[in-house]
């Protein structure tokens, strides 16, 4: 709705352009950078920045499909467990003597399968919200990972596998290049294809979309499968960086990912938001974490900051701000209406 109105009625206005949430994010990003480099002389150092980027980008791959899921007005909290399960399956297979290339393919397949199961359950049992389905599968996937490896860690992957997490191409981290390529692909998918337009349509009004001939179920299953696939990609990069894997790997990633998406201006009510916002939010949270780590802020304080950022990001659009193009506040009973 909002998008259409912006296109048709208002036309292009500089004020509207600069009052977008993404500019706000860039402003916060610059602020964070300024404060960080003021507080620590080591912040603005190319090598440090490059290495920091490599450490936080692994989970960023899940952010991309999560944007699609939240625009669909759904949520997936099983992604971290999917990461753990696909990483454990890959490591277990490799330890049993399966060639690494095959193990990687199976890892991706397991991730996609996990996502497909989520999507299928959500579509098949429409009474159930995505929250409860993915909550159950979150426990199951992690549970299967524990069944397979118990409390052991598996490692000793071939030397070339390290390249994924540690390698450079022309001095640029490989993981950064991979992320940028994926981000562009997802942005094109969301903003330049009919598939993407249909995702917005479903997020705005699933019933109307279904009656207009959009295959809601199929699109939902595809999007959730994509989320599983990207979780497996995260599993590859994470395992490569850590050199080994355990069943309790990636705990709490779902929270980080959802925080990044929501901070990126994607509305949890569905149908609104853009890929670029989430990508900026990935770097914003990543560099915030790196900067706070440099000045010895304990990890526990970071937990609080991320939690408050998440709450703040969803709260700001709901506050009424006069004379701006920001989204209007919703009535107090909105959460009841839209359930989970």
């Amino acid at each position: 709705m909002d998008l259409l109105r912006r296109d048709n009625e208002k036309g292009f206005s500089w004020k509207g352009f600069f009052l977008q949430w993404e500019w706000m994010l860039i402003l916060i990003f610059l602020l964070v950078t300024a404060i960080n480099s003021y507080l620590s002389p080591y912040y603005l150092n190319y090598d440090n920045l490059r290495d920091a980027t490599m450490t936080f980008l692994d989970k960023a791959f899940i952010v991309l499909p999560m944007v699609l899921i939240i625009i669909l007005a759904d949520i997936d909290i099983s992604v971290a467990s999917t990461v753990a399960l696909s990483a454990v399956v890959m490591a277990d297979l490799y330890a049993m003597g399966v060639p690494m290339e095959v193990a990687i393919l199976i890892c991706l397949a397991v991730g996609a399968l996990c996502g497909f199961i989520n999507g299928w359950l959500i579509v098949r049992f429409k009474e159930l919200s995505a929250v409860i389905v993915t909550l159950a599968t979150m426990i199951i996937y992690r549970g299967i990972a524990y069944m397979m490896l118990e409390d052991q860690a598996v490692g000793q992957f071939p030397e070339w596998f390290k390249f994924l997490g540690w390698g450079y191409v022309f001095g640029i981290p490989f993981i950064l290049i991979a992320f940028v390529v994926c981000a562009i692909a997802f942005a094109l998918l969301l903003h330049k294809t009919t598939f993407g337009r249909r995702i917005y349509a479903i997020g705005n009004n699933p019933t109307a979309s279904r009656f207009s001939g959009v295959q809601v179920d199929r699109i939902k299953i595809i999007v959730f499968t994509l989320a599983g696939l990207m979780a497996a990609v995260t599993a590859l990069f994470l395992t490569s960086r850590m050199g080994s894997t355990r069943p309790n790997v990636a705990t709490g990633y779902e929270l980080d990912v959802i925080a990044m998406v929501v901070l990126g201006g994607i509305s949890t009510a569905g149908g609104k938001g853009r890929m670029i916002g989430a990508v900026i939010a990935v770097f914003l949270i990543g560099y915030l974490r790196y900067g706070l780590g440099l000045i010895n802020i304990p990890a526990q304080a970071l937990l609080i900051i991320i939690g408050l950022l998440l709450i703040g990001a969803v709260m700001v659009p709901k506050l009424k701000i006069r004379g701006s193009g920001w989204r209007k506040a919703k009535p107090a009973d909105a959460p009841v209406k839209r359930a989970l």
Partner: protein, 335 residues
Amino acid sequence: MTQKDRNSSTWSAKIARFREAGLLGFILVLSVIVQFRNPSFLTIENISDMVTNTAILSILAVGMMLVIVTRGIDLSIGATLALSGMIAAQTVVANPELHPVLAILLGTCIGLICGMVLGWLVARFGILPIIASLGMMNVFRGLTFMVSDGKWVSAHQMPASFKAIATSSLLGINTLIMIAIIIYVVSYYFINHTRTGRQIYAVGSNPDSAQISGINNGRILWLVYSIMGGLSGLSGVLWVSKFASAQGDTAMGYELSVIAACVLGGVSIAGGSGKISGVILGSILLGILNNALPLINVSPFWQMGIQGGIILIAVLINAVVKRGVDRNHLMRRNV
């Protein structure tokens, strides 16, 4: 309308009506099977151990039921529990003369404040409960670590009077169980026989008509999350007293068990329905599972997967049963 349709719908309607009986039957069958595999299962000691373990879970499940009835969810209770348990433990360590009842009150108040903040975010700003509670879970967990400075409060630091909360008995019944029973009775009265209690169900089953009938939806939501917070605070003190240790990661992920107990007990995630009796039976079933699996030599690493599987199956059965009930209603309207 074929005969087959009619049969299947009455079948699911029957299940819906006798859900508690079915759950009870399942619990009995499970107990008998486990008893055959390991005769030490149905001994007085093991049963009392199991029931005290279930007491905390069921207290939380009662609160969670109210939240789920309003179509919400609260993922922050594990963190609230840890925070209030930690602060209560530190207070009694600093003042060993403090009466245990005051420690319980302190924990409950801290939990209440946590719940009020969450309820305020959900009711006033309309933030989705899952997002708000996910964020507050981080905040409360971080606060717990900061308050404790990463240290544990261990058994030998705590005064005996505090540890006695969980071991002493009141009128011949273990205090934990007594507190749980009081909470069941009070909440049963509250949700079935007071106006506010009925309003919770009204908001959950149809928020729009509740609003039109003059119910203040925001106030009800806020109340529900505050109750949940208060109960988590209370459970925090009981937890710390029972296990005689307070750690930063106390009860991490416990919210999932609590939600599982509600779902097993037939609380509908779509809101508007759920009974105290069901929730208690759901908690007991989970408690038995947790207790029985190690007794029949199931690896502890399998428990998570088994629990997840049971939750999923329960959720799916709920959905199918609800489908049948809805169809039944439609058919009745047809005639």
